[in-house]
């Protein structure tokens, strides 16, 4: 095994061995740019039989099924699955807020990206990884093939959350929509801490294209269940906005209530528009998320 993989904080060899056999599942059969390993809407020339249809003038005589003609004396054409490649776009939030938490949210997001991107690479999918804070930053790809793993890990290891870089979901999604015109799978990983809201931003992902969107809402345990005490002046690491709070049980209760409603808002928005929403705490072991949860949700098989 490569020393680079051994020194990687994102993936280890045991985990790679576990995900080697997995592949990304796209429920929407979309057209790729080149022939790949994905089933296409188009009928093509792969070995995978798809269907029959009656012969019509001009059809390629090579695909006529002579056995059927012998039995029925009618001409039928054998249709084969066209296999295409899959576009896998991974967008991870790299704003300052992602740098918080124990375990760290950004590390967690990068691990998700690394694992899913690796699965994509192994399956000859077109993988592209980008980060966004106040704008979209391409990190990796597009690339395919197992050999790109080192490049992927390099790019993900080196990226960091900027200091006092704000979250601009809108800008990030808009940039993505403008630059990426292909269909495929979009993995969107963020903590959604953007005062401007998330609705307008996610609209860009939906616009016009038949993308299959997986939204990962990642929060740290202290954001889910804060353990603060006393009279505090909370300072936002991105925009410096302060909140004076006196921690009390009712306040914490209200905070959790609010967090739940926030999650519910995002979930409702996503499911209403055919996006897959997954909320996870960085406390949840990463391998469980990939091997357990995502398989159950149908993203992987």
């Amino acid at each position: 095994m490569s020393p680079r993989l051994e020194s990687s904080t994102l993936l280890d060899k045991e985990f790679i061995a576990k995900i080697e056999q997995l592949e990304l599942v796209s429920r929407k059969i979309a057209s790729g740019q080149i022939r790949g390993e994905r089933r296409s809407k188009r009928r093509g020339q792969s070995n995978e039989f798809a269907d029959y249809r009656p012969y019509s003038t001009g059809d390629d005589l090579r695909f006529l099924d002579w056995n059927i003609y012998g039995r029925l004396e009618r001409l039928f054409l054998r249709l084969y699955e066209e296999e295409e490649d899959l576009n896998l776009n991974i967008l991870i939030d790299s704003s300052s807020s992602m740098g918080f938490g124990e375990p760290n949210k950004f590390l967690y997001a990068r691990k998700i990206a690394a694992a899913l991107a690796y699965i994509g690479l192994v399956n000859q999918d077109r993988v592209r990884v980008s980060s966004f804070n106040e704008q979209l930053e391409p990190l990796f790809g597009p690339a395919r093939g197992r050999r790109q793993l080192w490049k992927l890990l390099d790019s993900l290891e080196t990226v960091d959350t900027g200091k006092e870089t704000g979250t601009n979901l809108f800008k990030g999604c808009k940039d993505f929509a403008v630059t990426q015109r292909l269909t495929g799978i979009v993995i969107f990983v963020s903590d959604f801490f953007d005062r401007r809201g998330f609705e307008e931003a996610l609209k860009f992902l939906l616009a016009g294209r038949n993308l299959e969107i997986y939204v990962f809402h990642v929060l740290a345990p202290e954001e889910i269940d804060p353990k603060y005490v006393g009279d505090l002046r909370l300072v936002d690491c991105e925009d410096g906005i302060e909140a004076d709070v006196s921690i009390s049980r009712p306040l914490l209760k209200a905070y959790k209530r609010n967090l739940n409603s926030f999650r519910a808002e995002i979930q409702e928005y996503c499911t209403g528009r055919g996006m897959h929403y997954s909320f996870t705490s960085t406390e949840v072991p990463f391998d469980k998320l990939i091997l357990g949860y995502l398989r159950r949700r149908g993203l992987l098989r």
Binding site: D194, E223, R233, L234, A243, D244, V245, L251, A254, N258
Partner: protein, 653 residues
Amino acid sequence: MSGFTFGQFAWLLLPLIPALIALYFLKLKRQPRVVSSTFLWARTLEDLHVNAPFQKMRKSLLLLLQLLVLGFLIFACSKPLVEGTGQTGISRVILIDRSASMGVLENGESRLSLAQTKALDLINALEPGDLTAVVTFSNRPVTMQSMTSDRGRLERAIRRIELTDLPTEFPTALQTAASLLAAAENGEVVVISDGAFGDLTNLGSELELVKLRYIPIGEETSNQGIIELDAATSFSQEKAYEIFASVYNSAEEKKSVTLSLYDGEDLVDATQLEIEPGKIAPHVFDGAKFAGQTLKLQIEPGGALKADDEAWIHLALPKPLEVLVVGAPNHFLDLVLRANPQLRARRITIEAFETLLKDDSKFQEDPAQVIIFDRQCPKSPSLRPAIYIDCHPDYSLKVAAESEEKKEGADTPVEATGPSKIEAPSIVDWDATHPVNRYNNYADLLISESRRPGKIPGYHSIIESAEDSLAGVVTYLVPGSPAASHVILNFNVLNTNWAWLPSFPKFFYSASAFLGEAALSTEMGRFRCGQALTYYPPKKAEENQSSYTLKTPQGSDVPLKPEKSGEVIFPDTYHRGLYRLEEDGEFVHQFAVSLLSRKEADIAAAKEVRIGVDRIATADEIPQSKELWPWAAALALAFVLTEWWVYNRRMTL
């Protein structure tokens, strides 16, 4: 009329309000903490603010609560009262008992303290225009505060009242109260006491008209107390005393007490007494050689009142009493007088006495303290204490009644009817309470003939025959001279069998003791609380330059000066115990002061006061003011709690 009043200095607290507002602006210093985002917190705070009540007041709710708390505290400090109904313009004298029995503890609190609380309630219920005076009483009344409407002074006067070990003397207190109300139109006396008023049926009519309310204090009834302690020289042993003690049981059941006699810390004698309810059990400690020391008598258990659980007696070495016997020789009397080492008697004839009497300066120099006129006496009454045997002077010149002992009617001798001599009078009664008769029994005394005393104003008979008085006591008062007591025997002791009876020497010793007080009597060794302590220095008054200090049982030193007449007097024996007198720093005498009062030992509170024929009910109807400060303080506390709650919920951006 109901009213509402504030304490005097409550307004002084008002500047606290701006101070609080100033403090409010000193904001809470919060600890800064960088977090991933305040986005959700802000949303939470907004939600809470939106849902919080009193949106408009929200910013100042804490201030408002704090102001309310402060307001209620100021309100509570001002001791607001809602007063009961009552007449206005009342002049009221509050008589508060501070006698020994008020020291009884009722559920851990003394009766005096309960009385003070009741009195303070009355002060709190004062209406504008009411005047109140505070008088405390025990054996004498003390005006703590004359008529005023100033609550502060009245409250201070009530709080100043201290418990004493003194007995109760209610009529004089009532007189004082009546005199304070003399000018008032709408006056009343409120008595706060546990009773022991004595007989009030014969008060003056002006006192019977005083409107009286009575607030009884105390529920406790069980007490055993020493009510008498005395000593007499023992007849069986030389230089020895017999100690007499009486213990009273006020409880409603039979009690058993241990009576112990101590010499300092050493137990000298002890006995067990069974006392029936409401009865007195006497005991005599006989024959012990107790001369020249202070003995303590103690009972155990002593019941609710502690003041009467112990008593002291000081047995001084008797000093000889100078007795001058005037008249023809009397073998028996001379023998008796000679036999008593405490008496130094000499006899002169009546002529010699009259010669002596004529030379005033010579008579003044004569050391005689008691004069016995043995069957012969001059016409004018003696200015010195005297015993008249079978004769008496003409008191019609100047006589004062023996006021304390005198009882109207029964003891006033009527004009003798019939012959002036009584043949073989039979003794039917004697006043056993009189000091002269103490420990004496005259049942065996046979008298062949007695004289009728005739009409002697102020005469108090101490031995009675069926026909007339056989012996009596007169107090002779002449302005400018000290009062002199005279004992008059209306029969010739030689014409009786008395000389063979024990009562004969005892009578003369007791009479000499009664008259000579300072010398023979052990009375000097045992004082009741309230009795003045008197010391007679051996030096002449004009030569006495010494300074005297009395050390009280409480440990304070009271400097005393000799009176012009020579004696050193300390009148304020408010507490029981041993008082030590020092002359120029040297110990000279010890006085034993005890309660010794049956009235005080009977601690059951009287349920009513009866003056004349009027029955005075207890004064439940006295308006009681309701203090509001506990409610105000409780509200303040409630607001503090609310503030705490609000504060803990409150968050600002």
